[in-house]
Symmetry: C2
DNA sequence: CCTGTTTTGTGAAATAAGTAACAAAAAACT
DNA sequence: AGTTTTTTGTTACTTATTTCACAAAACAGG
């Protein structure tokens, strides 16, 4: 099992690039097409593929269709992945309303909140009380959850998701969650991402002067 | 100039942990307090500090106040950073309404959109036509921008921001932007983050079985 | 069918990042 | 005052990731 996160991110990017290339009429691609598309070296592309046992044809490159298929298999995108969201606030809403997930094979199946004014059992994406999470997740065998609740509630929501049988979580709360068992937690911390930009801007300014 | 992104991210985390520790009454901390707080090894903490010339006292650890100050200087957080947002859709709204930025020294100064129904010149955070970006950014000497427009508009917005004198961008559009000049672009791709979770969940399931 | 060209696939080399180890400084204790 | 303990700061080591380089395969053109 390859545990290099940036490598997996690249696979996703290759896949996205391939869809674009296919739309442009490409039937086969070379490692340097993909490299250009996502901004890495051709040898990185081939190395990544080699790691996952993906092989093309010497001098013939890779068949776009079959490559997309292989990447989707590795990335677990053979069938639509159902996802639940906990916390229908700013971030939760943004994700729920986002149209782009569908074409990526991601489906927001339901949202859960503690605020009863937000419940809407019959809408396209139902908004349900937290208490119904376990039932819902088990019935639909959902494995992926998003945490978009206030910081102080995040740990308890993670624990609940773990108890429901969720296996992987994307967490927006800016704190370190203690994951029990074998649940995968991926953190997105937007403040940190902004601070990161600020650091690099300042750092660049300083080196420019000197 | 240190260009290791994860290192900078750790500095931000140290800083956040230090605020929490200070609130708890800590006046000095040891490398292993910080290590515990953010989940790395004490030697990593000391190495990071060493890289930036931060030093403490042998057997006495680090003074919390002065450490926070040094980190804030490195991270460019001495004064409030003003930020503009392009695209007041799902993500743009979520960011604009988020209360947490203020206490991090980040201020959303304005949003820019092409949809005239969204304009509100007099609200707390003004929402202005795109055309006014240059004037606004120059007048306020703003250096940081967020791109939260639809994918196809993202490149043109980046170009515009570059022309306005913006130096760093946090981009939510899931495509590779061509950055001209010395502008820093940090991409947040939420689909990719979700796909990443899905990969690791599947990978873990497979290794569990075998 | 042979020769030249292109492009893959992978092992080796280089670079980067993280971990360990330990001397030196400073405080605490006797 | 001297000994022990603690904790830093840095160098050396280890591991991870990226880049290079080149043989082998595949096709193209004569
Ligand atoms: N909005 C942003 O731009 C932004 C930026 C950075 C970080 N974050 C982080 O993302 C998380 C969500 O932020 P937000 O702005 O969307 O918050 P929010 O306050 O807008 O929404 C939180 C939602 O969670 C619900 N909630 C509260 N407790 C709950 C619980 N125990 N179980 C289920 N639902 C519960 C609330 O009813 C509310 O609907 C926070 O941790 C925040 O720090 C958000
Ligand atoms: N919402 C999400 O959860 C989510 C998830 C993943 C990725 N993204 C990405 O984030 C970006 C924004 O997504 P969203 O859901 O907020 O989009 P959205 O469609 O809700 O909002 C886009 C906003 O940008 C404005 N706009 C359009 N063209 C513009 C231009 N040239 N200049 C300025 N404003 C312009 C629109 O009027 C609208 O207000 C997209 O690239 C999307 O792919 C969003």
């Amino acid at each position: 099992m390859i545990t290099n996160k940036s490598c997996i991110i690249r696979l996703s990017r290759y896949k996205n690039a391939l869809y674009r290339l296919r739309a442009l009429g490409f039937v086969k691609v070379f490692s340097d097409n993909l490299a250009d598309a996502i901004g890495v070296l051709p040898s990185q592309v081939r190395k990544d593929f080699s790691l996952f046992g993906i092989s093309g044809n010497k001098r013939g490159g890779y068949q776009v269709d079959s490559l997309i298929e292989k990447l989707n298999t590795i990335l677990g995108k053979e069938q639509t992945q159902e996802v639940i969201i906990a916390g229908l606030g700013n971030i939760g809403n943004a994700l729920m309303k986002y149209k782009g997930f569908e074409k990526e094979g991601l489906k927001i199946s339901a949202c859960f909140d503690i605020d009863s004014t937000k419940y809407s059992r019959d809408s396209d994406i139902p908004v349900l009380p937290l208490e119904e999470m376990k039932e819902f997740v088990r019935a639909k065998r959902i494995k992926i959850g998003v945490i978009a609740v206030p910081d102080i509630a995040a740990q308890s929501v993670l624990d609940m998701m773990t108890a429901c049988g969720i296996k992987g979580v994307l967490n927006f709360a800016p704190l370190r969650l203690r994951a029990s068992g074998d649940i995968v937690v991926n953190n997105v911390n937007l403040e940190l991402e902004l601070e990161n930009v600020i650091y690099f801007v300042n750092a660049q300014e300083k080196t420019k002067v000197s």
